[in-house]
């Protein structure tokens, strides 16, 4: 699961980190769309040549490499299977392009998740007119993920201490053994939710339609620059895709 590392926020100071999350969202979407437009090796390589410096700009190159390493087994698998089973005229060509596109897509989205703090994401959504309750529910979910994880482990320990054997038996036994874990987890979470609600109500949650925000996101010049460049690039790429025939640089098999 280490390939997920590249989608986890890391607290750092970098050019990418300092951009407004909305600008980064646009950038990520544009990059992903561009990646999807091509199934030829050369253009995809160019796209990657843009993405990799972006990872460096986010001071996350090592992370990215680690994730790619973690993904390498899957990628090779895709490569081999598609080459063998493909009905295209140049199967290897096609498979390599597929793999490159996958990497490009992942890297595009990773540029967003790696550099956007969940708080900022929530604030970005609010300023994009998403209702506060929804955006806040999202950030609360993220806040409580580690807590829930710990709770799950504690429950597993408790049940193991009673003799429940979680890793023994056939598939049916194992499924049955999940019940003593899931039920307490759900109940505990519901109890917790009620207590959290009490605390939130006591601090005025939902009181005013005119909720204020201590820190608001605002676009700086560089954010506008990123947005404009992204959009221009998008238009250009569409134009190239639609009107300019690409030379055939494919590997002949």
């Amino acid at each position: 699961m280490s390939f997920l590392e590249v989608f986890q926020y890391t607290r750092q100071e970098s050019i990418m980190h300092s951009l407004d999350p909305r600008a980064k969202l646009l950038l990520a979407i544009v990059l992903a769309v561009v990646s999807l437009l091509f199934l030829e090796i050369f253009p995809l390589l160019i796209i990657l040549a843009v993405l990799i410096p972006l990872m460096a700009a986010a001071k996350s190159l090592r992370r990215w490499l680690r994730s790619m390493k973690g993904l390498s087994v899957l990628l090779i698998f895709i490569l081999i299977f598609n080459t063998l089973l493909s009905t295209y005229s140049n199967p290897l060509n096609y498979s390599i392009a597929l793999v490159l596109r996958l990497i490009a897509l992942m890297t595009s989205f990773s540029s967003f998740f790696l550099t956007v703090q969940p708080d900022e994401l929530s604030q970005a959504l609010i300023q994009m007119r998403v209702r506060f309750e929804f955006a806040f529910a999202m950030s609360m979910a993220m806040r409580y993920v580690p807590t829930l994880g710990q709770e799950a482990y504690a429950i597993m320990d408790t049940q193991k201490a009673r003799g429940v054997e979680l890793d023994k038996g056939n598939i049916l036994t194992r499924i049955r053994n999940i019940v003593p874990i899931i039920v307490p987890l759900i109940i505990v979470s519901i109890r917790r939710a009620l207590l959290i609600a009490e605390s939130m109500e006591s601090r005025g949650f939902g009181a005013s339609k005119n909720r204020t925000y201590m820190e608001k996101l605002s676009f700086k010049k560089r954010d506008w620059a990123v947005c404009i460049v992204s959009l221009i690039a998008l238009v250009l790429v569409f134009y190239i895709r639609l009107y300019i025939p690409l030379p055939d640089w494919s590997i002949p098999f």
Binding site: M142, R192, L195, E198, R203, G204, G206, R211, T212, M214
Partner: protein, 280 residues
């Protein structure tokens, strides 16, 4: 007019068989430090929730009587409206920190009420200093100890600038040192004018600072007065309340016909009284 007036208030949760609160009569003046205690199930948890209207607005049920907080009847005002008058701190710190860092947590309350961002920032800075949270500023709740979390929870509650602080067993889940820190904080807040209502089992830690002890049992108030008077009465042990050991010694000495000059609440007080008595 007293800050808190509970008049003949009774409450039964929906689906419950018995009354959680039976005709409670309690008045608390501004600036008091009241400790409410009693065996499990006596109604103290329900009582403290009447002060910011969680009962009956959030916890629904059957009510009789009135609770008037700073002139506002809790039947007619929402929890949000009362949040800037009475702030509640609960037992589990984990469940009171809903955001991803300390700044945001403290800002949460004022933001909800539409306070001006500049003012919110001011309050956040003030409270971070007051509660010594500077080194925790950007930390995720998961990266803090229970004691630190509870301090943040208190700061977040005080961000709404309430006149009353109600704390429901805030130290139950904390180790002794953290518990002391929290209780000292509460005590110092009271010295500065905050009206404090504290629900606590550990009377040995709080009775020396409290101005008043209210004893509850089975939904009613069974005693209400100065700590030294209440804790030396037999009713405490009858209902199963943990009286400070020093006070127990005082009572046992009485059985030996030894009358110390006053009721001790701490070990040092006891020693002092014995020394006094020995010089006579």
């Amino acid at each position: 007019m007293p800050l808190i007036e509970i008049n003949d208030f009774s409450f039964k949760y929906y689906g419950a068989e018995t009354l959680a609160l039976k005709k409670i009569n309690l008045t608390i003046e501004a600036g008091e430090y009241v400790v409410i205690t009693g065996p499990s199930g006596c109604g103290k948890t329900t009582l403290c929730r009447t002060i910011n209207a969680l009962v009956p607005q959030f916890h629904r049920g059957y009510i009789a009587g009135n609770v008037i907080i700073d002139g506002k009847n809790t039947r007619e005002h929402t929890v949000a409206e009362l949040s800037s008058i009475a702030g509640l701190v609960f037992q589990q710190p984990e469940n009171q920190l809903v955001t991803l860092n300390v700044e945001k947590e403290i800002a949460f309350g004022p933001e909800n009420l539409g306070v001006e961002p500049v003012e919110i920032r001011r309050r956040v800075e003030e409270l971070i200093e007051l509660f010594d949270l500077e080194h925790l500023r950007d930390k995720h709740p998961h990266e803090m100890s229970g004691g630190e979390q509870q301090r943040v929870a208190m700061a977040a509650t005080l961000a709404l600038k309430p006149k009353i602080l109600v704390a429901d067993e805030p130290t139950s889940n904390l180790d002794p040192k953290s518990a002391e820190i929290i209780l000292d904080l509460i005590s110092s807040l009271n010295t500065r004018g905050m009206t404090v209502i504290l629900i606590e089992h550990r009377l040995d830690l709080v009775s020396k600072d409290a101005g008043r002890v209210v004893l509850m049992d089975k939904g009613s108030i069974v005693a209400d007065g100065l700590p030294r008077e209440i804790l030396s009465q037999d009713i405490c042990q009858d209902i199963g309340v943990g009286v400070p050991k020093a006070t127990l010694v005082y009572k046992r000495l009485k059985e030996h016909d030894i009358d110390l000059n006053s009721v001790p609440l701490t070990g040092d007080e006891l020693a002092g009284l014995v020394k006094e008595a020995s010089h006579l």
